[in-house]
């Protein structure tokens, strides 16, 4: 039956298969751990982050992977629970042996898992806007920070609406440190803080808070509220006819409250964000159509979704230029100061001193019908505060978080 030709063909075929198999072995996948809150208090804002990571992974794998290696995602639901972050961070680093972890929504969760990343000498991307100040060689932060969000927003609002500012903030590290930034920037611009109230997470009734605000009649109200329970504030304030212009670093861009509430409860809200789906550029539109093709039922594409998406491309570039997933080789690439990608928001670059990202900052204003306009856009705002204050990860790694009142030690 079998002719010599046939046999030699078979032989060649089996050699070819063997060769293919061995290259496949050499090309083990790049494993990315994904720890995000897919259920619980923060799920609404966090589910799009997971989708952003999946979308970028699919695109990269279709185009041949990272330096020829496919990306493999290891996804766990952290349930909006800090303890889960700690358990699962250990699990992805020790058992799943991932090359990098994309993790965290709330600042409390980031501070919960960061010591574990340090302990196992891992590398983690934090793709969330936050209160700033993390100077840690094991962390790369692609979210916006106060010098990008508050130093743009607050002076603009004070010029337009007045100098009396009132802050209501979620009562944990994010809200406390963000409120400190607000205080500092208001003071630098000759304004006056007329009130400050910290709200425990999970509180949903705001009658008294609304009255406290009415009592001192501020010109601007900074709302740094986090989580779905606290978002009930807007509905209740609107029902009580409180109409102070509002500013925020987290609303709209993160929790898409303007889509979830009945107009006009979010009217006159101002948010500085590095991306939201209303951004009207060709890059943004192309991004949205790709997204909607994969996730037609996505309620909203928020700034963290875009951060997570472009973070995968940033990581791809770092690994390809370093020729390895080794953290120190990757940091060597970052130290060159030219790791940049063209993201849907615009150009994003990683700053070597702080390992934070530069951003295009859009000032989004919510109208009475909850439509979004962009009265101002700042291009290429660098995450300068940490570097200026004395954090330089190319020289030393303090693995600490700094605030305006607790800056890095000099010298």
């Amino acid at each position: 039956m079998s002719s010599p030709i046939n046999r030699s063909f078979l032989g060649a075929f089996s050699i070819a298969t063997l060769a293919l198999a061995s290259t496949a072995l050499a090309q083990s996948p790049v494993k990315i751990g994904v720890l995000e809150d897919q259920s619980g208090e923060f799920a609404a804002a966090t589910l799009p982050k997971v989708h952003g990571i999946e979308l970028a992974t699919e695109e990269i794998n279709k185009a041949g992977g990272i330096a020829g290696r496919k990306i493999e995602l290891v996804v766990y639901d952290t349930q909006s629970d800090n303890t889960r972050y700690q358990e699962m961070m250990r699990r992805v680093l020790q058992r799943d042996k991932v090359d990098v972890v994309f993790a965290g929504f709330s600042s409390a969760s980031r501070e919960a898992y960061r010591p574990i990343v340090n302990q196992f000498n891992g590398l983690a991307f934090y793709n969330n806007q936050y209160e700033g100040g993390v100077c840690d060689a094991n962390m790369i932060v692609t979210g916006a920070v106060p010098e990008q969000q508050f130093s743009t927003l607050i002076p603009w609002m004070m010029e337009k609406y007045g100098k009396k500012v009132y802050t209501i903030a979620a009562d944990y590290n994010f809200g406390q440190i963000s409120a400190e930034w607000v205080r500092q920037i208001v003071k630098e611009n000759g304004g006056e803080m007329v009130g400050e109230e910290f709200i425990p997470l999970g509180v949903s009734q705001f009658s008294q808070t609304i009255q406290n605000i009415q009592r001192v009649k501020p010109d601007i109200l900074m709302t740094l509220l986090v989580g779905t329970a606290q978002a009930s504030y807007y509905e209740q304030a609107a029902a009580a006819n409180l109409k102070v212009p509002m500013g925020s670093s987290v609303n709209v861009g993160q929790g898409y409250e303007h889509k979830r509430f009945t107009p006009p409860s979010l009217a006159n809200m101002h948010v500085t964000t590095n991306y939201i789906e209303e951004v009207d550029t060709p890059e943004s539109k192309a991004f949205i159509s790709k997204w909607r093709a994969k996730y037609p039922n996505e309620p909203y594409i928020n700034q963290e979704a875009e951060n997570s998406y472009h973070a995968i491309y940033l990581y791809k570039q770092m690994v390809e230029r370093a020729g390895s997933t080794d953290r120190e080789k990757i940091r060597g690439v970052i130290a060159k100061g030219d790791v940049c990608v063209d993201a849907p928001e615009g150009k994003v670059c990683i700053d070597p001193k702080s390992q934070h990202a530069s951003h295009t900052i859009y000032l989004a204003q919510v109208g009475a019908d909850h439509s979004i306009t962009f009265p101002k856009v700042w291009n290429d705002i660098k995450p300068y505060w940490l570097g200026d204050a004395g954090c330089d990860l190319t020289k030393s790694d303090p693995s600490a978080q700094y605030t305006p009142s607790n800056p890095p030690p000099k010298g």
Binding site: S207, N212, Q214, T228, E235, A239, A240, F261
Partner: protein, 290 residues
Amino acid sequence: MEILSALFAFLYQAGDAFAFLVLAACGLAIIFGMMGVINLAHGEFIMCGAYVTVFAVRAGLPLPLGIACGTLAAGLVGILLELLVVRHLYNRPLDTIVATWGISLIATQGVLILLGSTMRGVGTPLSSFTFGDYSYSQYRLVLMAAAVVVLVLLYLIFNKTRFGVHARATIQVPHMAEALGVNTRLIYCLTFGLGSALAGLTGGLYAPTMTMVPSMGATFIMEAFVTVVVGGADVFLGTAPAAAVLGVIKAAMTSWQGQLAGQISMLIAVIIVIRVLPNGISGWLLRERG
């Protein structure tokens, strides 16, 4: 006018806190007080009522009818759960805690998977009014009235109807009531349904003022348990005065030092009450009377 404005502001806030506490707690208090069952799925009955209300309003019903739908739906779900789960655990109080907790996890996660992480609400009805220096939401007055109406209706149900007499008899001496021909199983079932329906009513009433998320019930739980612990087992002698006392404490502390102080003061109140009056306000009142 200054004093009047401040006084009204304080009364409004205390009333608002009172309404929230009464409505959050009454369903829990009935199920606990009448049946001794600690229902950890209480928040999910509230969520159920809120979601059904929003769906009904979206389907074109006016809000009051929507709230009625939410109340009814939560009540029916409660009766169903009583028949399937709770009924079999009456002599095992610790097991009911675990079972109802499990139900609450299933409900929260099930709604998240089926209906998504968030849903658009219906918006607060009515408008606002101004008194002195402050403006207020009219709908919050409706909530305060609703809390009082619920208390009055419960009083009438338990003291003036046949069901109420049977229910109280069942609680006092179940075997005697049974011997006298009371269908205690049915009474337990209806009582659980009533407690669930009250939770649903609370969800429906608060739905327009809150974010619609699967975990929304959790924001009521702390206040509900605090009120029941302070009040003790009796709804009228316990829940109502406890809510009044806690409402005043919470409003005063929140006005003075902010939300955090308000929350802390409530928890401190519970600790003091547990230490001084282990059976709650109602236990103390009943002992004083007896």
